[in-house]
């Protein structure tokens, strides 16, 4: 298969042009540092949402502990860059790998559980990570981790976002990705067709955790300061809302969801009291009236293959789809 055909070339050129356009807007000062903060937050949210979408939307494993992986990544990167003086590149890669390792370790036992039980177990895992972080003095405990060097900028954030989106998009359309989708559609049938359930669930979990770790690293090295409460249950819910809002099983949906909800959340900062009420109502409304999310297809069942078909058409960067 040719790696660089015409469509791929266009995608790459489009990505580079977008990067250069935003970068030059920063350079000539149209976008100020407040805008930069919001744009980087959007990038972080996209990475988190795409990762969780792989776990929940494509593989069908309901995780309520995604923020825990972000926390692991953020602390790993903070320790590496602030305490051990490593360059950001090392911090970002290792925080992804450590988070992925945590994903594998927690995934192997808990992914035997189904649906609700898995949700509660991952929630419990998230709480355990938070409590451990709160009580470890080396990383600041409840006071938080201070003086993390600020390395994250538009280049890093955008690069990692593109990496996450392209990686997961290609993964979904690969042989392994189809196995994950088969698990979501029907576990027993997938197993009967020879799909190794544990392997693919843990694989999806590890990839999602890897990118959550990278997102955590970007976060830590942008805001100088992290504390365990930042990555609590509410953060996991925030990510879940983005994924559900955009559509479970739609990568474009996650991207749109991350952008829309990050902007909404910024606008609602002046009415912080109402923010969570509105969030809850949005979540409730989506589940009631459009359980497939923003980008989902119109049928009531959210988990249809059509969503993916549409995506590939719209994105056009992946070949080999015809072989399905």
């Amino acid at each position: 298969m040719k790696k660089l055909d015409k469509k791929n070339m266009f995608t790459i050129i489009g990505i580079i042009l977008f990067y250069v356009a935003i970068q030059s807007l920063f350079n000539i000062g149209i976008l100020d540092s407040y805008m930069e903060l919001n744009i980087i937050l959007i990038c972080i949210n996209i990475i988190l949402a795409v990762g969780l979408n792989l776990i929940t939307g494509f593989t069908g494993q309901f995780s309520l502990g995604h923020a825990a992986f972000m926390s692991i990544g953020a602390y790993t990167s903070a320790v590496l860059t602030a305490k051990l003086g490593q360059p950001f590149f090392v911090g970002i890669i290792l925080s992804g790998l450590v988070a992925a390792l945590a994903g594998i370790l927690i995934g192997i036992p808990t992914l035997r559980l189904k649906g609700d039980y898995l949700a509660i177990a991952t929630l419990g895992f998230g709480e355990i990570v938070k409590i451990l972080a709160l009580n470890t003095d080396y990383i600041g405990g409840a006071i938080g981790f201070n003086d993390i060097p600020q390395y994250t900028n538009w280049t890093w954030a955008f690069g990692m976002t593109v990496l996450a989106v392209l990686f997961i998009r290609n993964f979904i359309n690969s042989y392994k990705g189809r196995a994950c989708i088969a698990i979501r559609e029907d576990e027993i049938a997938a197993e009967a067709m020879g799909v190794n359930l544990t392997y693919y669930k843990v694989l999806a979990f590890a990839i999602g955790a890897f990118f959550a770790g990278i997102a955590g690293s970007l976060y830590a090295n942008y805001f100088y300061f992290i504390k365990p409460d930042t990555f609590g249950f509410m953060k996991s819910i925030d990510i879940l809302v983005i994924v559900v809002f955009g559509g479970l099983g739609s990568i474009q949906g996650s991207i749109v969801g991350a952008i829309v909800l990050s902007i909404v959340s910024t606008l609602l900062q002046s009415v912080a009291d109402l923010r969570m009420i509105i969030y809850a109502l949005v979540l409730f409304g989506i589940m009631m009236f459009r359980p497939t999310g923003l980008m989902g297809k119109q049928e009531f069942k959210g988990f249809k293959f059509k969503t993916i078909k549409k995506e590939v058409k719209a994105g056009d960067s992946i070949k080999g789809y015809e072989s399905i």
Binding site: G115, D116, G124, I131, I188, F233, I277, F284
Partner: protein
């Protein structure tokens, strides 16, 4: 020795509260297979109703408890009708996310109206305490009240489930919802009734926690709610005696852990238990094994 008795008293009081909440989880899960995430927040509403009644209306403890139970059971029915009933046929994940959204809605709506600050629950019971073993073990009158009310409510629940017609319908529905419907059981009524009872128990637990710890806040429900769910899983979800056993066990374990220097880790212990139970004995201590069908 005194230490052990004191821990036992504290653990049983805490366990009684968990058990009351776990009953609601287990009954709802037994019938419609839904983790009612909003359960912990119904408990919070119960505590606030009790607080309002005793503080602003100067109502005595027992009437306040009963009114709170009535209000929360009504709230439970409303939530079921508005949020869960339309989604009864939809995928599990949809129902679960809806439950989370209802939970958030209750928490932050309450916070919007009463403010995020912690409030002090009035001393509605005369402070009296019994001392044993040279005064080293203190049995507060609150502990007695909590245990007595918990037991009375559990016996009442057991009576309703085992001896009344509605209880029979509930048991039939939890055994097989569709078959029960075919046999003429009004399933909608049964589900509403289950929510009403579970929520009333949660409301009672909320008031009891108010008098026990004296402080309430709008987010007080989320962590105890999750722990009560852990208790229900520990005892075997769907089994009513299991919820009681799980609640008391969890209360005791937590008290023992915090007494032995692990107070910062006491929240983690509950979740560790959950993960262990799910891995070793997913049906819980008293749950029955269910075969999976394609």
């Amino acid at each position: 020795m005194e230490q052990v008795f004191q821990q036992l008293i504290n653990g049983i009081s805490l366990g009684g509260i968990y058990a009351l909440m776990a009953l609601g989880y287990t009954m709802v899960y037994g019938i419609i297979n839904l983790i009612n995430f909003a359960h912990g927040d119904i408990y919070m509403v119960g505590a606030y109703v009790g607080f309002a009644l005793t503080t602003f209306f100067n109502i005595g403890f027992l009437p306040a408890l009963l009114i709170s139970m009535a209000v929360t059971s009504l709230l439970g029915i409303i939530i079921e009708k508005i949020a869960y009933k339309p989604l009864r046929k939809s995928p599990r994940i949809t129902a679960l996310i809806t439950a989370i959204s209802i939970s958030l809605l209750l928490q932050y709506t309450m916070m919007y109206f009463v403010g995020p600050q912690t409030r002090t629950f009035p001393e509605v019971l005369e402070s009296k305490s019994l001392r044993f073993l040279n005064g080293n073990v203190i049995l507060d009158i609150k502990n007695v009240y909590i245990l007595a009310i918990t037991l009375i409510l559990m016996v009442a629940l057991q009576f309703i489930v085992k001896k009344t017609k509605m209880g029979k319908a509930m048991r039939a529905s939890s055994f097989d919802l569709e078959a029960a419907e075919l046999m003429g059981v009004n399933v909608n009524k049964v589900i509403s009734f289950t929510f009403a009872m579970g929520s009333a128990l949660a409301g009672a637990a909320g008031v009891l926690v108010g008098i026990y710890y004296n402080t309430i806040n709008p987010l007080m429900g989320s962590l105890p709610g999750l722990k009560a769910f852990v208790a229900a899983v520990l005892g075997g979800i769907g089994a009513i005696p299991g919820a009681v056993l799980g609640g008391f066990s969890l209360g005791l374990i937590e008290t023992i852990v915090s007494a032995n220097g692990g107070s910062v880790f006491k929240d983690a212990v509950a979740f560790l238990i959950l993960i262990l139970v799910l891995l070793i004995k997913p049906n819980g201590l008293l749950g029955k094994t269910v075969k999976e069908k394609v």
